[in-house]
């Protein structure tokens, strides 16, 4: 839940408090990930409060079960003493609607790194963790992820002003029509094509090339990290659970002992506690994995922006090249020299020169084409420069955000480790006390 203060830009520090509970730490992390005092958030609070299961008929008229999420928004005004806070406006959305919103934003703002959604299906799963989309833990983590997405969009200087986004938060029924009416669907296909197209850019902005390269590296390393982390979690689970067997055998053994019996029995209980503690520990660690995943998905968005730049640059270069070619043709036609091969020129050589009239009309057409080409080139140039300007600004913003967020994530990971160590020490100290009484 986010509270917006008008004007203040303070962030809640996570460091220093190593004894926070998991829900507390979740909230803390959300708070530090998104800067307050930004446009939309100055005016309203947004949170994804709940999740509910629904059943309904889908497009092929079959029954399906799906989850809907409750989005609550509340105007951010201070509540007078003794007064009750205003009831939030609320509406329900399902995951596919979030996806629709995001696709719209991707297509409409190609120069912005659009925040990613939480994963569609559970990936990098360690064995006990459920890969089932309807699993309550998965749903809960998705709820948090969706809220994070909305907050990121709402705190972005450009995106937060988007009408469709606003409607997403306020218009439950009419929103879908409104989106489709924008006609963004047409651009979707061309975007996909351009993303996968192979073309050679001669002079891309070096910064974008580097950024794309960095983004690919980041993608690789985070994927690796998530994969190995899942294996580590699996193994650690095994270690803790086997200790539970001590509980049983100590209990059985205590039955045949006299003085040693009590100590053994109680120590056994502590071993059971130890074995059970891993479930919470690993559940909490999933949050860290989710933070990493967000940035993994972010790298795709970064890549898209860099690719878009390359595309525009390529189009610019092509236009420029075409223009040069046309100018050369005109010069040839005007002076009569053949430097550039043209079919017309060739055929006129073979079949006789054309008449003066024909030449002049051709020249005029070329000059027209050149003028148009120069216009188009100018426009394209502007487009390109604008894109580079706005996109690079967003990339800089992103870099800062990434550094801050990942640093916080690493710190909170360290805090989790400390908490795990403390729990371990506690349990073994308790067991030791029991052994001492044997």
């Amino acid at each position: 839940m986010m509270m917006a203060d008008s004007g203040s830009n303070e962030e809640v520090a996570v460091i220093g408090n190593t004894d926070i509970t998991s829900t507390e730490s979740e909230n803390n992390i959300i708070n530090t990930m998104v800067e307050r005092g930004t446009p939309l958030l100055r005016k309203m609070e947004i949170n994804v409060a709940e999740a509910e299961k629904r059943t309904g008929k889908n497009t092929v008229n079959m029954q399906e079960t799906y989850t809907v999420y409750l989005i609550e928004i509340r105007p951010a005004e201070t509540v007078p003493e003794g007064g009750t806070p205003a009831t939030p406006d609320a509406l329900w959305r399902r995951y596919s609607e979030f996806e629709l919103l995001r696709t719209f934003l991707l297509v409409t703002y190609p120069y912005i790194i659009i925040p990613p959604l939480p994963e569609k299906r559970a990936e990098f799963v360690w064995h006990k963790l459920s890969a089932d989309n309807l699993d309550p833990d998965f749903v809960e983590r998705r709820r948090v992820g969706l809220e994070n997405f909305l907050l990121r969009v709402a705190s972005h200087l450009v995106l937060s002003n988007d009408k469709i986004f606003f409607l997403f938060l306020t218009e439950e029924k009419g929103w879908r029509e409104a989106v489709l009416e924008t006609g963004f669907q047409d651009k979707v296909d061309s975007r996909l094509k351009s993303l996968s197209a192979m073309f050679r850019v001669k002079n891309p902005d070096k910064r974008f090339t580097e950024m794309k390269h960095y983004s690919d590296e980041l993608n690789t390393v985070i994927s690796q990290l998530l994969r190995v982390r899942a294996k580590v979690a699996d193994r650690l689970y095994g270690v803790y659970k086997v200790h539970g067997n001590y509980g049983r055998v100590f209990s059985e053994w205590s039955a045949i002992e006299k003085e040693m019996g009590d100590g053994l029995q109680s120590a056994g209980h502590h071993m059971d506690t130890y074995a059970a503690s891993i479930d919470d520990i690993l559940e909490e660690e999933e949050h860290y994995a989710d933070q990493l995943k967000e940035y993994l998905f972010y790298t795709d968005a970064v890549r898209s922006v860099c690719r878009k730049h390359e595309l525009i640059q390529y189009e610019l270069e092509t236009l420029a090249q075409d223009l040069v070619y046309k100018k050369q043709q005109k010069e040839e036609l005007a002076t009569g020299t053949v430097r550039v091969f043209s079919l017309k020129g060739m055929t006129s050589k073979l079949f006789g020169t054309e008449s003066q009239e024909q030449r002049e009309s051709r020249l005029a057409a070329l000059e027209q084409s050149i003028r148009e080409g120069e216009e188009t080139l100018k426009e394209k140039n502007t487009e390109c420069q604008q894109f580079v300007g706005t996109a690079w600004e967003d990339i800089e913003r992103f870099k800062e955000q990434k550094d801050k967020d990942l640093r916080e994530a690493l710190i909170s990971y360290a805090i989790m480790q400390i908490s795990m160590c403390k729990k371990g020490i506690q349990v073994w100290s308790n067991a030791k006390e029991c052994f001492n009484k044997m």
Binding site: R235, W253, L406, I411
Partner: protein, 442 residues
């Protein structure tokens, strides 16, 4: 070994045992200022099997002080309320300093066996000899044969079954040495076994080999003696039944604990493998970052520290924990053997008694001497066994208390190392953050 008038014994002073010359090689002279004799035999007028003990003058304060200088075993006494207190112990043994010997015939390891004692049965107050596993085995066999009514502590496994283990690796030798040390200490602490002449020879003789030749022959002879008889036991007294049942169940539980401990080691080892890879991924990430370099390097460092701590834990468990468990399984086997022998001697007695009674009824001959001897034997056996059982139970309690608290300690240690590492990372990053904030506001 001279038995008779007590002799003045030189005080051992504070010289480390290494500096003391081999008793049989050096001149037979007292090493320093002599002090009065003190053998604390007063407390026991006789041993459980009836052997009388030389009693002499009570301890003098200086020799008592000297005894307290013996560092190795002092700690053991302080930790160990279940065995005799410092005042009653007068025989201290240690096994250490393993060395490899290579000869044309074979390669083997010897251990230094150091003895410090004030007992009259020993000519000198200190001894230092080298022994190999074979010698310990010899001793054990001799003890078993000469003290059949007593429980002899077990030796570590003779043969290494798991083919991959290197007999000369540091860990194996270290583990074996600790077990041999324990064996010898248990024998030295036993009120009867510690006075056994074979133990004396083991601790003092320069060359044990000559005696061993004869020993092997006698061993065969005596074991034959035990097998013959074949009497059937009628009714085992309840307390010995209970002992047998206890041992069976205890054995089972120890086996389970052994399996669990091994399983944990395996899981931890696999976890360690993954954890190492995990650390390297963080390290490899560092290269593409600037601002995040420090936290990433920090995390990689912490993970590495945790790996090291976990490695230590695993080593400790396999070197200290598992061998002790296995030793107790062997101990249980020994104990069961003794119970069987007791059963046999009871059966023999009952058999002979029955035969004698029948004969008596026929021709009124008095109870033959052998029957009475048998009865004595059984009663002795039962008494020794009960005493040893109590002793064994008390030692077992102490040993397992130590073993399990040790296990808990090692685990706590592991977590403490990890916690410290992560906490120092947070401090480091926190300092950097305050640094940055301050430079921002300036």
């Amino acid at each position: 070994m001279s038995v008779g008038a007590p002799r003045g014994l030189a005080s051992s002073g504070q010289k480390p045992i290494a500096e003391i010359l081999h008793p049989l090689s050096a001149a037979e002279e007292p090493l320093s200022v002599s002090v009065t004799v003190n053998v604390e035999g007063d407390k026991e007028a006789g041993l459980t099997n009836g052997t009388p003990v030389e009693t002499s003058s009570p301890a003098s304060t200086s020799s008592l002080f000297n005894r307290l200088q013996l560092d190795d075993d002092l700690e053991a006494d302080v930790r160990d309320p279940y065995t005799e207190s410092t005042e009653t112990r007068d025989l201290f043994v240690t096994v250490d300093d393993p060395k490899k010997h290579v000869s044309t015939m074979e390669t083997y390891i010897t251990y230094r066996v150091s003895t410090k004692t004030t007992r009259v049965e020993f000519d000198l107050p200190e001894y230092c000899v080298r022994r190999r596993y074979q010698d310990f085995d010899w001793l054990r066999i001799k003890l078993e044969d000469s003290q059949p009514t007593h429980l002899i502590p077990p030796l570590p496994e003779k043969f290494v079954m798991k083919g991959v283990v290197d007999r000369f690796s540091e860990e194996f030798v270290e583990t074996r040495m600790k077990a041999l040390d324990k064996f010898l200490k248990r024998v030295a602490d036993h009120p009867v076994l510690s006075f056994n002449p074979h133990l004396n020879a083991f601790l003092t003789a320069k060359d044990l080999n000559k005696r061993q030749g004869l020993a092997l022959l006698t061993k065969v002879g005596e074991s034959v003696k035990h097998v013959a008889g074949g009497y059937k036991l009628r009714a085992r007294p309840a307390e010995f039944c209970a002992m047998g049942e206890y041992l069976d169940t205890f054995n089972q539980k120890l086996g389970t604990i052994d399996r669990i401990a091994q399983r944990i080691l395996k899981e931890q080892s696999e976890y360690l493998t993954e954890l190492r890879e995990y650390g390297t991924v963080y390290s490899s990430w560092v290269g593409s970052e600037e601002e995040l370099r420090r936290p990433l390097e920090g995390v990689a460092g912490c993970v590495t520290t945790c790996c090291g701590a976990l490695e230590d834990l695993g080593e400790n468990m396999s070197q200290d924990f598992l061998p002790v468990l296995r030793e107790y399984v062997l101990y249980i086997e020994s104990m069961k053997n003794v119970l069987r022998k007791r059963d046999q001697s009871q059966a023999e007695y009952e058999g002979r008694l029955e035969a004698a009674i029948l004969r008596k009824q026929e021709d009124r001959t008095p109870m033959p001497l052998e029957v009475e001897k048998c009865q004595d034997k059984v009663e002795c056996f039962n008494a020794d066994l009960k005493a040893d059982w109590e002793r064994w139970q008390s030692n077992k309690r102490q040993d397992f208390k130590q073993l399990l608290t040790g296990m808990a300690d090692k685990n706590i240690n592991n977590y403490e190392k990890c916690q410290a590492s992560w906490e120092s990372l947070i401090t480091l990053l926190q300092d950097k953050q305050t640094e940055d904030k301050m430079s921002e506001t300036n």
